[in-house]
Symmetry: C2
Subunit: 264 residues, 2 copies
DNA sequence: AAGTGGTCTAGACCACTAT
DNA sequence: TAGTGGTCTAGACCACTTT
């Protein structure tokens, strides 16, 4: 009974609830996101539970409706809650199909230019066969450029790249572009890109002898293949190709639910 | 010169610019997102270009600052623009390291229950070896549960799953859980989950003889392995295991930049 | 000093759900 | 009918960049 009387004022005594610190460099809406996340992580609100209504949160934390709304929208985007209009905001259980993983690993590779080198293995102009013509939406026998490159990390081959480009006699291949700039820009985004959008597919594969030789390992090893096609501003394909990476050199990581390391 | 005089009033004549339709079921902020996306796609604003300032957009589309802000925040989250405080909002070139993949494919598999069956291959209680004890943060020789399951799609083996669970004598293994509910809940999110968060790793691998037999194909084929570890609300690991899927049955797709099919 | 993005307020009105 | 989330306004103030 003692406990219940304490509980009646639990916001001050039991759970030591945080409030918004107006002096903080952290915006109020982020503070509220973190407060709610923490409560969900602690199990104060379990999957399926309804969070306090927006007006209750306004009252409790002395925030305007728009600010509370903003915080809830963030939880919504992060897949942690579901909102049902007219009913409430509910804690969502972690779901595999929501899992997101990124190619962010690639960013790290290209981050320090010093350690990353691009070696051009081959550049040649050839005539498109049926497959290439199909992918690049051009005609068979049309001239295309084939570029094969090897990406070295600390001198160690890391990524093998081959791509077919539309041959444009008016836009000669710049030597420098082949070296580092175009790939670097593709991954980091510093340089100007010549394409508007791209589609990517990741598949599991097994290294061919040629790939294994280039990547300095033995054939028949597992590998990732990342096929890509890029389109220009008129939505015409300009580049089709793929990256190949040793399976033992690349991992994709992701989390669901509330990871220990918060994003904020 | 004729052209320039037309251009001077281009907002009305040349580019037929859209305005916000107040009667539409589409919220104003989404309409503005789509207008801006369309202009970026058309090349009105190229990578590196500055978008009109927020106050200009307010004026042009007769919207309040908060609404314009909301639209720009969406473009920001989608990686299409960068904002620099005090300077402006700039169109971002497509960058590989921003590419996002999801396990959304799995949702489709589980969507219609009728076509998906789970076959339990084995359930046994055994003593943890060093690796298992390490992953589940328990002691060697401690009892753990091993569950091996096969997921069938239209009777065809699609996914092989094995996991080690902490053995809890007070929570007996429910027969039904093993069948479909727990996996179904994991992917779709309908059932209650017993864990708070999880970490996942995707790697490329090659099917062992056993895996190949189970998945109804030949060994040495490429495959995806998805390793997972789930934690309960006290942040203790409760499940460690992995999914194995034939490489020819699973693809991960993604886009960068402005895909033809808009999200709105 | 002028302009830009970033945060926040204190309301309003609406569509929807629960009872 | 009362309560909930969803959208939107018309301002305010701040930190920052540009000129």
């Amino acid at each position: 009974m003692n406990k219940s009387s304490i509980n009646s004022n639990k916001s001050n005594i039991i759970s030591q609830e945080k409030s918004i610190n107006r002096q903080s460099f952290e915006p109020a809406y982020i503070q509220l996101v973190n407060i709610l996340k923490e409560q969900i992580a602690k199990g104060v609100y379990l999957p399926g539970d309804r969070l306090p209504s927006e007006s209750e949160l306004c009252e409790k934390y002395q925030l305007s409706p728009m600010t509370v709304r903003r915080s809830i929208n963030i939880l919504l985007n992060q897949g942690l809650v579901t909102t049902i209009q007219g009913s409430g905001t509910y804690v969502k259980p972690p779901v595999l199909s929501n899992v997101i993983f990124t190619l962010g690993e690639f960013y790290n590779i290209f981050k320090d230019k010093e350690r990353t080198k691009v070696r051009v293995l081959e550049v040649l102009i050839l005539k498109a066969d049926e497959i290439i013509a199909n992918k690049l939406e051009t005609n068979i026998e049309e001239r295309v450029i084939l570029i094969r490159r090897l990406l070295l990390r600390d001198g160690d081959p890391f990524l093998y790249h081959m791509e077919y480009l539309i041959y444009d006699p008016y836009r000669p291949i710049v030597e420098a572009e082949l070296e580092i700039i175009s790939l670097h820009g593709l991954f980091i985004g510093t340089s100007e890109t010549k394409f508007k959008r791209g589609d990517l597919t990741i598949e599991a594969s097994i290294l061919t002898k040629e790939e294994a030789d280039l990547l300095n390992t033995i054939p028949m090893q597992p590998a990732f293949r990342i096929e890509h096609i890029f389109f220009d501003f008129e939505d015409r394909p300009v580049s089709w190709g793929r990256f190949t990476c040793r399976g033992d050199r690349l991992r994709f990581n992701a989390s669901i639910g509330l990871s220990k390391r918060q994003t904020f």
